[in-house]
Amino acid sequence: MDLTPAPETTALVSALDALLAKESTPARVRVAETTGFDPALWATVTSFGIPGLALDAEIRSDELLVALAETAGTHLASVPLVETLVTASLLSGCTGEDAARLVAHIADGDIATFVLHPIRTAVAQLVPAGAIADIVLAYDGTDLTATIAPAPETMVANVASLPLADRDLNAGERLVLASGQHAAEIFATAQRRWQLLTAAQLVGIADKALQIGVEYVRGRVIFDRPVATFQTVAHRLADHVTDLDGARLLVQEAAWAADIHSPRATELATMAFCFIGEKATTIVGDCLHYHGGYGFTLEYDIQLYYRRARAYPLVWGPVAQEWQRLADELYGAVPMGAA
C-alpha cells in the first residue's frame, strides 16, 4: 500500500494550483458568473497543456486527472476542465480521420464536451459546457456522434452560473465517431470518468470551503469568545473533515482502480460521486451557516462554494436516484416484473 502520489502528479498539481491561485481569484470568479466562463483563464489553462494531458494515453492516468479536477474545484475555476479532460479521453479512444481532426481542434484550444446520458431526442438539455463548446459528443445507444457548430455563448441561467446550454445535435456538421459495442464501452468509460472527476472537483470545493469556515470561526468573536470555542461548532467541523478525508480517499481509490483496470472501478466511482455529492452540500452549508448573517450576503465568498457544491452533482442527475444505480452495480439489476 502506498498513498504517495506519482511525482508527475505532484508536480503538475502544484503548477496548476499556483496558476489558478493567481488567475482564478474570487474577484475573477465573480466576473465570470455572467457567462459561466473566463476566456483569459481558458487560454492560460490551454497553454498549460490541459487538453493534451488527457489526449495522450501515455501520460493520462485517472490518478492525475482526479488530482487536477480537485485543484480546479479548490479554485472554482471558471473553465470546463472536467468536460475537457473527459471528452478528450473519450475522443482519444476513437479511431479514424474524423476523430483525429477533432483531437487536433481540441489540442488547439477548441472546447469539446459530451452529453452525459444516452440521448432520446435531437435536443439535449443543460449540456455541461454546452454554452461554450464547439464540439458536442453524444451517444444514442448505437452510435457515438460529434456535432460541430459554433458555441451559442449564452448559458441557461442557473444557480451556480455554470456554462450549461440546450444543444440541438442536428444543427451543424454531424459525424459518427464509433458504433456498436465499441461506442457503448467508451461512452460508459466517459460516464464513469465524468462522475469521478466531478466527485474530485467537489472534494476540492468542500476542502476550500472548510478552510474558509475554519478560518472564520477562529477569528469571529461572539458572546465574548471565538465561535470555534463552542463545542457544537468544533465537533461538527471535526465530523466534516473526517467525511472529507474519507471522500478524497474514495476518489483516489476509484482512480487507482480504473488505472489498474479493476472490475470495481465503476462501483467505486459511483460511490465517490454519491458520497461527496451529498456530503459537499452539508459541509459547505455548515461553513456558510457559521458565518451567521454574513454567509447569506453575496459579499462573502462562501456562497460561491455553496451554490457550486449543490449544482455540480445535479448536472448529472438526482443523487437520491444514483444510489439505485450503485445498487444495480453491486447487486445486479432487479429482474423485470419483480417487486
Partner: protein, 385 residues
C-alpha cells in the same frame, strides 16, 4: 499510489484464514456467548503456537517482525470471523507498554509468558465517577516501605474474571494537578484483597467492577516512575493506533439475508428501499476501510497516525452504530427475534450487533474525545467547551 495491502500481507491473510477455518469453530462462538467473556483460551493458545500473539513485534522481542500492513490483513480476517481477541489486544497493549517502561525483571517475567499465550492482562483504568476522564482516578496507592497498599474501586475491568494481571491506574499524589499524581502498577489478580463482581451489559459481554481493599504489592510491581503514570498511559495509547481496515462482516451478513429473502419479505434485495440502504452502507464501509488503511499505511512508513486514527475510530464507530439500527429496521418484525430463535434472520446476528454496537462510540476514546483530537490537532481550532 497503491491501495492493495501487498503480496506479503495477502499471503499472511491466506494463512490466517486457513488457521481460522480449523480453529474458529462454532463451539468457540458458543462458549463466548455462554460466558460473555470475549476470550477463548483454546484459541488463544493455538494463536500463540503459530507465534501470532505478537506477530507484529520485532523478532528480537519474540515477535515475527510483521509489518503494519500484514497486521492489518490479520485484523481484517479476525474481524470477518468475529474472533474473540479482545483479551489478546489488551494483553499486548500492556506488554508493549512494559517493553517500553517496565524494569528488566518485569520484562523478563511478563513478556515471554504473554507471547506464549500463558497470561492475559486486563485494564484497570475507569472508575465509577470518572468515565472518559481517566486522569480523575481516585484509587489510591500508598507507600509502605518496599510495598504499596492499594485501596479503591474500578469499573469496566473487562476480562478480570479470566485474566492473571490488571494494569492498574492509581493516585499516588493528591497535591499536584490530576495528570501529575498518577502511578501505574501491574497487579496479579489473585492478590488478597481483590474482589471481582460481574457487570452484565446490553451486548451480552461480561465486564466487572473490581474492589481493592488494602491490596499489598511490592514496589517491583510498579510500571514507570512514581507520579509518572500519565506518561505510561500515553505510551500505551500509541500502540497499534491504526485499528482495523476492512470490517464488512455485518454488511456481508445483511446482503446475504437480503439476497436469500423471499420477494415478499420487507428486506428482499428486490426492494428499492433495501437496495438504497445497502448501497449506502457499502459506501460507508468502504470509507471506514480507507480511513483505517490510511492509518496503517502511515504506521508502515514509520509515522504515528494521530488525527488520522481518530478519524477512523470516529467514522467507523458512528457509522457502524447507525447501520446496526438501520439494518434492524429493514428486517421489520422478524428483526426482533434474537439469537437462538430458528426463525431469526441471519441467526440473530443483526440484532446481536444492534445490542453490541452502542459501545463502539463509547470505549477506546469516545466519539467526543476523537472529535476534540481532530478539531484541535488537525483543524488547529482552540479548545472548545
Amino acid at each position: 499510489v497503491d491501495f492493495e495491502l501487498g503480496e506479503r500481507s495477502e499471503a499472511f491473510r491466506a494463512e490466517v484464514r486457513e488457521f481460522l477455518d480449523e480453529h474458529m469453530t462454532p463451539a468457540v462462538r458458543e462458549r463466548v456467548r455462554a460466558s460473555g467473556t470475549m476470550h477463548d483460551w483454546e484459541l488463544h493458545k493455538a494463536l500463540a503456537a503459530k507465534g501470532w500473539i505478537a506477530a507484529g513485534w520485532p523478532v528480537e522481542y519474540g515477535g515475527q517482525g510483521r509489518s503494519p500492513l500484514e497486521m492489518t490483513a490479520m485484523r481484517e480476517e479476525l474481524k470477518k470471523r468475529h474472533v474473540p481477541v479482545e483479551g489478546l489486544g489488551m494483553t499486548m497493549l500492556v506488554t508493549h507498554t512494559i517493553r517500553r517502561c517496565g524494569t528488566e525483571a518485569m520484562k523478563a517475567d511478563i513478556i515471554p509468558r504473554a507471547i506464549n499465550g500463558e497470561i492475559l492482562i486486563c485494564l484497570g483504568y475507569s472508575e465509577p465517577q470518572g468515565g472518559s476522564d481517566v486522569a480523575s482516578a481516585r484509587t489510591s496507592a500508598a507507600r509502605d516501605g518496599e510495598h504499596w497498599v492499594i485501596d479503591g474501586q474500578k469499573v469496566f475491568t473487562t476480562m478480570a474474571e479470566t485474566a492473571q494481571y490488571v494494569f492498574l491506574l492509581t493516585r499516588t499524589n493528591t497535591s499536584v494537578p490530576k495528570h501529575k499524581g498518577l502511578t501505574m502498577f501491574l497487579v496479579p489478580l489473585d492478590t488478597p484483597g481483590i474482589t471481582i463482581d460481574p457487570i452484565a451489559t446490553l451486548g451480552g459481554e461480561r465486564t466487572n467492577q473490581v474492589f481493592y481493599d488494602s491490596v499489598r504489592v511490592p514496589d517491583s510491581a510498579r510500571v514507570g516512575e512514581v507520579d509518572g503514570g500519565w506518561d505510561v498511559l500515553m505510551t500505551a495509547l500509541t500502540y497499534e493506533r491504526s485499528g482495523i481496515g476492512d470490517d464488512s462482516r455485518m454488511y456481508n451478513t445483511a446482503v446475504d439475508v437480503a439476497r436469500k429473502a423471499p420477494d415478499d419479505a420487507p428486506y428482499s434485495i428486490t426492494t428499492s428501499v433495501v437496495r438504497e440502504r445497502l448501497a449506502r452502507m457499502a459506501t460507508d464501509r468502504e470509507v471506514a476501510k480507507l480511513l483505517g488503511r490510511r492509518s496503517c499505511w502511515i504506521e508502515s512508513t514509520g509515522g504515528i497516525p494521530t488525527a488520522e486514527s481518530s478519524m477512523h475510530k470516529l467514522f467507523n464507530a458512528e457509522s457502524h452504530l447507525r447501520w446496526s439500527t438501520e439494518l434492524l429496521d429493514l428486517l421489520g418484525p422478524a428483526g426482533l427475534r434474537e439469537v437462538g430463535d430458528p426463525d431469526a434472520p441471519a441467526d440473530g446476528d443483526i440484532v446481536e450487533e444492534f445490542r453490541r454496537a452502542v459501545i463502539l462510540p463509547i470505549w477506546g476514546g469516545s466519539s467526543e474525545v476523537q472529535r476534540r483530537i481532530i478539531a484541535e490537532r488537525h483543524l488547529q481550532l482552540p479548545r472548545s467547551d
